[in-house]
Amino acid sequence: MPSKHFIMNGEEREFPVGSARFSEFLSSLSQDLKSSEQVISLIRIDGQEISDEQEGFFRNKTMQEIGQVEIFTSSPTELAHETLITLDQYIVKVIETLNKAADGYKSKNYLAADAFFVRAIDSLDLFVQTIGGIKLALRIGLHTKIAVVEASLVSIMNDLLTAKRENNYIYLAELLEKDLVENLGEWKQDVFPILKNWKVS
């Protein structure tokens, strides 16, 4: 059975079972990385960085069918800190979408507003998931300030859905452009510094 060469963090390695599927290769690698408290942060195939969706495309292919595989690993803490930097920019984009949705509701162009609203909700969902991941990586349990801002976000999102269900466009616009923007501002100003300076025990 031919083995398969791959590169991990710049060093050439060998995976013994060339006929194994790409998904099996990744699980086996993740298992090995656990002991060193590392996780896979980036995968390149033939020099091209692959996204989560592309990863799905390769999962059932055998290692022999795939070109050159490069793996980069980081510690969850490093990954969390890198993610926090990108979240700063992400929040700016989310706020843009929130304002566009609010403008649509205020000008009664509900078609446009609804489209931005859906995008805003998806973005917020991803934001919440990412924050959950960061907290897990940094092993943050209960932190009062973070809990308060989190609870406020959950409460605003509940109000948002109620307002949408009741077709209360004025309140919806207010929640989007005032309450949510204010809450995201609190994440940036108050919570992110806490997360950035968090030391994993």
Partner: protein, 548 residues
């Protein structure tokens, strides 16, 4: 909020009704600088507010006078020159944080267009230079007040809502109320009754003979009171013909703002529909408003607690006198008048609003139901809030003596049919508007869709004429759809207009839904009451039989 410009180019009454909002703005934003633009002729009303930092006068006579007196080319040039000079005024070049145009005339939107402001409310011009209204309360004004639809919101309260200061506007403080030295001052120990007989047009006031009867009757009934006559110098002649001995005639002696001290000294002010109604309300004096000529007292009647509005049915001269005497004495007014009393009602979101309540007659319940429902709808649509108002019960008035139950039920059913038709129009309108966007490149489809939308408009026009109870819904659609802030770019414009159409029809469908729910609640409450009444009647009948 630092710099605020308010444009109020209407007359005395409208300026006086704007004063509570000006106070509200200063109270909400204590650091702000308020500039008020009014027509020169009506500046005295503006002087009453101590919260105006800069008063700018629009010299209507100077600008338009020459051309109106003789519409020649030369005078046109003079008018234009005056206008340009006015527009070069310093206040026009300032940058404002908020510009509030409370003049609902289309020409005022041109002025708003030339102002630089971060936010504009009221009539303005869109990016394609057409008239546009962006804020919901101004849309409400244009749809309901300008079209004389069912509306129970007083203009003071509506202006405050447009300015976003309904929580800050009352009680009102007045400034600049000093009087000229040559006019006698009221005496603290004396009792006064104020009377204003003049109005802007003859149809708004009573004839001199009726006023004479009123004055004689009041003098006889309230001998300890001195009658005080307010008004302009034009009214002096008529006043001297009717004023009893020892009356005080102030007409022509005081400017508008100088009347306040005397108004406050009066226990009551009897007045037709004039600026005096608003001035006395602001000064806190009880108003007895004789409302003639189709003025909508709900919107522009006296504001506050305990004022009276008398709408005559077909009274004799002496009936007016008796009615006024009854109000002053705290007695019931006869059946020659519809007597309304004003009251300040606390809303469930904290502010107060003035409301007229029927005092000596049975209210038309169908009309009342729709008036109250449209108010609830307005608060929801324009402010996203729900006032905790008891939904009026539609009673089974068939058992009441002299009831017009059949016509009430007929009108209700007619309105309900129209609402069902409007709901369908709403659904179809949304679909057509979405199709307009989807087929924007297909000329044939576009032509057909435009025809379909025109057909919907024709159907709405028919319904508009058929029931006053659905008119507010239709005018709301028209304002939302037709006064849109549109781009000049053809493609963007198409999408914006189609989006606005979809929005207008979507709201129509939802508004009908809300009205249907309110109607259902009202009918359920009525049914419950009817069932209760018929049950108790049965029991009573049984008792009666047992006794026999």
């Amino acid at each position: 909020m630092k710099k605020i410009l308010i444009i109020q180019l209407a007359r005395f009454g409208d300026i006086l009704q704007t004063l509570p909002s000006i106070q509200g703005l200063k109270s909400k934003y204590p650091e702000c600088e308020i500039t008020l633009l009014v027509r020169s002729t009506f500046r005295d009303a503006a002087l009453l507010s101590p919260f105006v930092d800069h008063l700018i006068e629009f010299p209507t006579r100077e600008i338009l006078g020459p051309y109106f007196s003789e519409p020649s080319d030369d005078n046109k040039a003079v008018t234009l020159a005056h206008l340009i000079r006015f527009l070069a005024n310093d206040f026009m070049r300032q940058k404002y944080d908020l510009c509030l145009n409370l003049t609902f005339s289309k020409s005022s939107s041109l002025l708003t267009q030339m102002i630089t402001a971060t936010e504009k409310r009221g009539l303005q011009r869109s990016r394609d230079h057409e008239v546009a209204v962006k804020d919901p309360w101004s849309q409400y004004f244009l749809a309901q007040v300008s079209n004389r639809n069912l509306n129970i919101l007083h203009l003071n309260d509506l202006f405050a809502r447009i300015c976003g200061v309904e929580d800050y506007s009352y009680p009102v403080q007045l400034g600049a109320t000093s009087m000229p030295r040559d006019v006698e001052a009221p005496e603290a120990k004396k009792k006064y009754l104020g009377i204003q007989i003049g109005a802007s047009v003859a149809g708004k006031t009573l004839d001199v003979a009726t006023w004479k009867t009123i004055c004689e009757y009041l003098k006889k009934s309230f001998g300890s009171h001195t009658l005080v006559f307010f008004g302009s110098s034009d009214e002096k002649h008529s006043i001297h013909a009717i004023a009893p001995n020892e009356s005080i005639v102030l007409a022509g002696k005081l400017r508008l703002q100088e009347n306040v001290r005397w108004i406050r000294a009066c226990e009551h002010i009897v007045t037709p529909d004039t600026a005096m109604v608003h001035l006395a309300s602001l000064a806190g004096t009880n108003v007895i408003n004789i409302s003639l000529g189709g003025v909508r007292a709900q919107e522009t009647g006296p504001y506050g607690e305990g004022h009276s509005v008398l709408i005559p049915k077909s009274p004799k001269s002496s009936d007016y006198a008796k009615a006024i005497q009854a109000i002053i004495a705290g007695d019931a007014v006869g059946t020659s008048f519809f007597h309304y009393k004003s009251t300040l009602r606390k809303t469930s979101f904290g502010s107060v609003r003035s409301e007229l309540q029927n005092f000596n007659f049975q209210i038309d319940e169908t009309r009342n139901f729709f008036e109250q429902s449209f108010y609830l709808l307005a608060e929801f649509r324009c402010a996203g809030r729900i006032d905790d108002l008891p939904i009026p019960v539609l009673r089974d008035s068939a058992h009441e003596p002299g009831s017009n139950a059949k016509s009430q039920v007929d009108r209700l059913l007619h309105a309900f049919d129209a609402m069902c038709a409007l709901k369908k129009i709403g659904k179809m309108g949304q679909q057509f508007a979405v199709d307009l966007i989807l087929h924007s490149r297909d000329k044939r489809s576009m032509k057909k869709l435009t025809r379909d939308l025109e057909e919907l408009d024709r159907l709405m026009n028919e319904l508009h004429g058929s029931s006053e109870y659905v008119r507010p819904l239709i005018d709301w659609v028209r304002v939302t759809r037709d006064f849109v802030d549109c781009s000049q770019n053809a493609q963007e414009r198409l999408f914006e207009l189609a989006g606005a159409q979809e929005g207008a029809y979507r709201e129509l469908e939802q508004n009908v839904d809300i009205l249907e729910q309110l109607l259902q609640t009202a009918v359920n409450a009525a049914t419950k009451r009817v069932t209760k009444t018929s049950k108790s009647t049965q029991v009573d009948t049984k008792r009666g039989l047992d006794a026999e």
